[in-house]
């Protein structure tokens, strides 16, 4: 009888507080969420890409100039790599900072392993990569980029490769390394594979979406280097060598970023360094198909997810413009002025919209990629990088 009574009480209590909806509460999905970096104020804005809304800020992330981030597989967590060497873990649904460690003196980005268990940070100071457990942020491996006794190189172009591996370039050493961490869970040390004399001053790199080709841009010479990871004996091979053909290069006020979506179908669209051109290369033959004159030094050259268009933004002083290239005619079909100081662009997962950060307007503009009409303008404080959770499902990041 007593037991029955005590059972009744909670039941009655339940009925007495009717739920707002007849359905049981559902957990929040993360597929249409994203983060916008507010570089000057050390905060992130959580956004919803379906409703084109800012949901709220996550604060206290330190120096976020040049900050980038990667997502956990469920899209609920992001790992943020700060310029000040901090690695922060944030939770999007609750908009909270859940963990933060000081992992180096100066960091520039990172990647997450194929199974989502390892997060790697690429560092300028001290030069090298450090790999952390994505659950606990415990250090799993410290791999200095020591290319000569006591000399550490700044690391750029870090990408994720299948099989718990990371690949990256050593700016100061003209080398590209692969770190294989598939054995660390079993207590084995990381295995390193090194490609030497790849070309002068690799400044950034990309991996094709299938994980086959690693392409690094070279600052110190005209040309890029590619490595075919599916080859029996992968080796570094120069592509587009001498694209400047002896012309005096223009000043580069900002390094181009290769990481992104530069592959459209069987073509790669690459920024020419020191030229106001986008280079087009066939990724079967690796021959140049052409070069497209553009409005300035390209920084991001990004294909819409379907590959039909390529969007380009520029370094100062041409950074108030964005140009759109049609990949069928390989012509600039649209020149847009979305606002002051365009720093980054991100496509929605299926590409109907592009989000563009305009730092000096303190705004993020959402444009329709078919009509180029503005769909929304959201407020953000000096926004730079925009990262949607759809990145969680893409290889390479």
């Amino acid at each position: 009888m007593l037991a029955l009574l005590s059972l009744c009480v909670p039941l009655v209590a339940c009925v007495a507080t009717p739920p707002a909806s007849p359905l049981p509460p559902l957990s929040v999905g993360t597929g249409d969420l994203g983060l916008v970096v507010e570089r000057a104020s050390g905060s992130l804005q959580v956004v919803n890409t379906s409703r084109r809304e800012v949901l709220g800020a996550i604060k206290g992330l330190g120096d976020l100039s040049h900050a980038s981030l990667v997502y956990s597989r469920d899209g609920a967590y992001a790992f943020v790599f700060g310029r000040d060497g901090a690695l922060s873990k944030v939770h999007l649904p609750s908009r909270s900072l859940v963990d933060r460690i000081q992992q180096s003196g100066n960091s520039i980005g990172g990647a997450i392993s194929q199974d989502g268990s390892l997060v790697a940070a690429q560092n300028y100071q001290p030069g090298g990569i450090r790999v952390f457990d994505s659950q606990t942020l415990r250090l799993v491996a410290d791999i200095p980029a020591e290319y000569e006794p006591g000399k550490l190189s700044r690391v750029v172009g870090l990408v994720e490769l299948p099989g718990q591996r990371f690949m990256y370039a050593l700016f100061d050493a003209n080398e590209i390394w692969i770190a294989d961490l598939s054995g660390v869970a079993a207590g084995q040390a990381p295995q390193l594979q090194k490609f030497k004399n790849v070309g002068r001053q690799p400044y950034d790199a990309l991996i094709t979406p299938d994980g086959r080709y690693y392409i690094a841009g070279l600052f110190g010479e005209d040309g890029l280097v590619k490595i075919d990871l599916w080859a029996a004996q992968p080796k570094a091979e120069r592509i587009l060598a001498g694209y400047g053909r002896g012309q005096e290069p223009l000043p580069v006020f900002k390094m181009p970023h290769l990481r992104g979506w530069a592959i459209a179908g069987r073509q790669a669209y690459l920024p020419a360094i020191g030229r106001h051109e986008v280079l087009v290369v066939d990724i079967d033959s690796w021959q140049e198909l052409g070069r497209i004159p553009v409005a300035g030094q390209p920084v991001f050259v990004m294909a819409r997810p379907d590959g039909r268009q390529v969007w380009v933004n520029f370094a100062v002083p041409d950074y108030n413009q964005v140009q759109v290239i049609d990949t069928q005619s390989r012509q600039v079909i649209q020149t847009l002025s979305p606002g002051k100081a365009v720093l980054h662009m991100e496509f929605t997962p299926r590409g109907e919209s592009v989000w563009i950060s305009t730092r000096d307007d303190n705004a993020v503009n959402v444009l329709d990629t078919r009509s180029f009409a503005r769909q929304a303008t959201l407020k953000a404080d000096a926004p730079s990088g925009i990262f949607f959770t759809s990145r969680a499902q893409r290889s390479g990041f």
Binding site: A40, L64, I108, Q201, F253
Partner: protein
């Protein structure tokens, strides 16, 4: 000459005013070393350029990145003329470009003097770029 002094006075006043409100960075320690003072509006543009455009390689807080650290402490021992020349002409063989297409030699001088000003407390650096 009178004009320059008036500008300098205006600059100092402006710094003083903004300092009382948001504790903005102090005036360059040796502004007289620069031959010509840019207008206050241009000075604001140059400070902004330092934080954001130089900052894309040297870090928003100038603590270094692809380029070395260039905050006040880091450049204190360098001759001001050498800093100005590096800004204006770039450093061939490195990613440091020549900025002469965007600023004048006099502005490079002013920026070099500004970069060597006594370091500001960290919190200011984080908020110095807020616009009205």
């Amino acid at each position: 000459m009178l004009n320059r002094n008036v500008l300098l006075l205006l600059t100092v006043l402006l710094y003083g005013l903004s300092g009382s409100v948001v504790e903005a960075q102090p005036a360059p320690s040796s502004p007289v070393l620069a031959d010509i003072q840019p207008s206050p509006a241009r000075q604001q543009e140059l400070r902004r350029m330092l934080a954001h455009d130089c900052g894309s390689c040297h870090g928003l807080r100038l603590t270094g990145g692809l380029g070395p650290a260039i905050h006040a402490e880091a450049v204190q021992q360098m001759p001001q003329a050498a800093i100005a020349a590096t800004i204006y002409h770039g450093r061939p063989g490195t990613p440091m470009p020549a900025w002469k297409s965007m600023i004048t030699a006099a502005e490079a001088d002013w920026l070099a003097a500004y970069m060597q000003r006594p370091p500001a407390p960290k919190q200011e650096l984080a908020t110095q770029e807020h616009r009205p």
